[in-house]
Symmetry: C2
Subunit: 238 residues, 2 copies
C-alpha cells in the first residue's frame, strides 16, 4: 500500500507541535513582566478551548472564512477578559501574545520523522492554521514540509470534508493516494469519509497529564503509531 | 531595506530552473525510442511558446482558471500536431512527456543561493505552475521553499495583479514587505505596480544562445544580480 500513497498530510496542533506548553512558556514571562498572577497552562487551555466553537460558525456557513490568526486574536480577547486581564495589555502587546502560535515546539520525534518520510513521499500540513501561520511555524521548528496545505486552500475548517478534498486536488492526487495523519480520531474519521488513508499517532500529553480523549485509536486506522519514527517504520511496511 | 523585506517570492521557469534544456533532455530519448527525427530543443521551444497565449485567455476572463499542468498537456497536443507526431504517442505516453515539467533542473547557483536566502527570509515560488507542479519540481530539484505560492492561490496567471497581491495576502504581509525575484522584466514591472520590491536575476541562456530578450534590467529594480549568490549578497546590503 505504501507505494500507492503519494502524499502524507498532517494535522499540526497536537500531532506535530506541543501547543500547550509552548503557548504557556511564551505567556509566562509576559505575565511575570506585569506581575500578573495567572497560571499560564490554564490560560493556554482556556484560549485553545475557544478554538473549535469559533471555527464551527464558519463550518456551518454562519460566518464567512477568516484565517485562524484572526480567530486566535479574537479568542485571546475573550481569554484575557475571562481572567480579568484585558486592560493589562495594549493592542501591540496582544499581537505579540498572539504570535505565540507561530512559535510552537515540535514534539521531539517530529523533525527526524518528517525527514525520513519526506524521502519517501510528499509531506504537507493539513492544518486549520493559515498558510502564513504554518509557514512561520515551519521556519521556527525546522519542519521540512514540501508545501503548505490546509484551511486556507479550502477556505473552510476541518473536519469539513472540503478541506481534505481540496488538499488532494491541490496535489492532483486521488483521495486514496493521500494519507491523513493526526492524533485526533475525529480528524481521521472525517478524512476516511472523504476516501483518504489514515494514520493515527498517539499524543497522550497534548492536553497535559489529565488528558482523557484520543488516548487510543478508536477505529482500524491504516496505521496506528506511537510516534513519528514508528509511523515511518509502519509506513514502509504497509 | 533588507530588514523590512519579510519574504522573497520567485518566478520559477527561467529564473530558478532551466526548462529548455531539461525538457529537451527528457523528450530526446522518447523520440529516439520511436526513431523520430525531430530537434528536441525546437520541440521544447515550440511547446513553451504556446504557454503565454493559453494563459492569456484565462487572464482576460475568456476562460475559467485551469491549472498549468492541463495547459501544458493541451499545448503538447498542439506541438505534436505541428511536428506531425500526434499519432506516434498514446495518451499514457503523452502524460509521461507532460511530466517533463516536473523534472526541470535548477540553474547551478540556485540551491545554495536559496539555502542562504532561506536563513534570512521566507522564500516561496510565485510561479504560474500549480501547487502540485511546484511541489514535485521542488522535490526533484531539492528547492528548499518555505511554502508554495503562485497561480493556484490566486486562480489566475501572472502578470495579472491578483497573483502578486494574493501571494502577499497569503503570507499576511504588505506588498512592500515582499520582493518578487525574476529574470523577466515584465514580471517585475507587474509586481512593482502592485507595490512589491523587485529583484532581477539575468538568465542569458534561458532561451538558448540566440536569446534576444531580458538580457538586461530594463528599469531600476531594487536589486539587479548576476545569479542567486549575487542576489543573496546584494540582499544583505540593501
Amino acid at each position: 500500500m505504501s507505494a500507492s500513497i503519494k502524499a502524507m498530510i498532517f494535522d499540526v496542533f497536537g500531532t506535530v507541535v506541543d501547543w500547550r506548553t509552548s503557548v504557556a512558556g511564551i505567556v509566562a514571562p509576559a505575565f511575570k513582566d506585569k506581575s500578573i498572577d495567572c497560571d499560564p497552562l490554564q490560560f493556554a487551555d482556556y484560549w485553545r478551548a475557544r478554538y473549535d466553537p469559533a471555527m464551527d460558525r464558519i463550518r456551518t456557513g454562519e460566518r464567512g472564512y477568516i484565517a485562524l490568526d484572526d480567530i486566535h486574536l479574537e479568542n485571546l480577547e475573550q481569554t484575557l477578559l475571562h481572567f480579568g486581564l484585558n486592560e493589562r495589555f495594549n493592542d501591540a502587546e496582544k499581537a505579540t501574545l498572539n504570535s505565540a502560535w507561530e512559535q510552537l515546539s515540535p514534539w521531539p520525534d517530529v523533525v527526524d520523522g518528517l525527514r525520513q518520510l519526506k524521502s519517501k513521499t510528499i509531506i504537507a500540513p493539513c492544518s486549520n492554521g493559515s498558510i502564513a501561520l504554518m509557514t512561520r511555524l515551519a521556519k521556527f521548528g525546522h519542519l521540512p514540509w514540501d508545501c503548505i496545505l490546509g484551511a486556507d486552500i479550502a477556505q473552510n475548517y476541518k473536519p469539513h470534508p472540503s478541506v481534505y478534498q481540496k488538499c488532494c486536488e491541490a496535489l492532483r492526487l486521488q483521495p486514496q493516494q493521500v494519507m491523513m495523519v493526526a492524533c485526533h480520531n475525529n480528524d481521521l474519521k472525517a478524512a476516511r469519509e472523504s476516501g483518504l488513508a489514515t494514520g493515527f499517532v498517539v499524543r497522550p500529553n497534548e492536553h497535559g497529564p489529565k488528558q482523557s480523549i484520543d488516548l487510543h485509536a478508536e477505529s482500524d486506522w491504516d496505521i496506528v503509531a506511537e510516534d513519528f519514527a514508528d509511523l515511518g517504520m509502519k509506513f514502509n511496511r504497509l
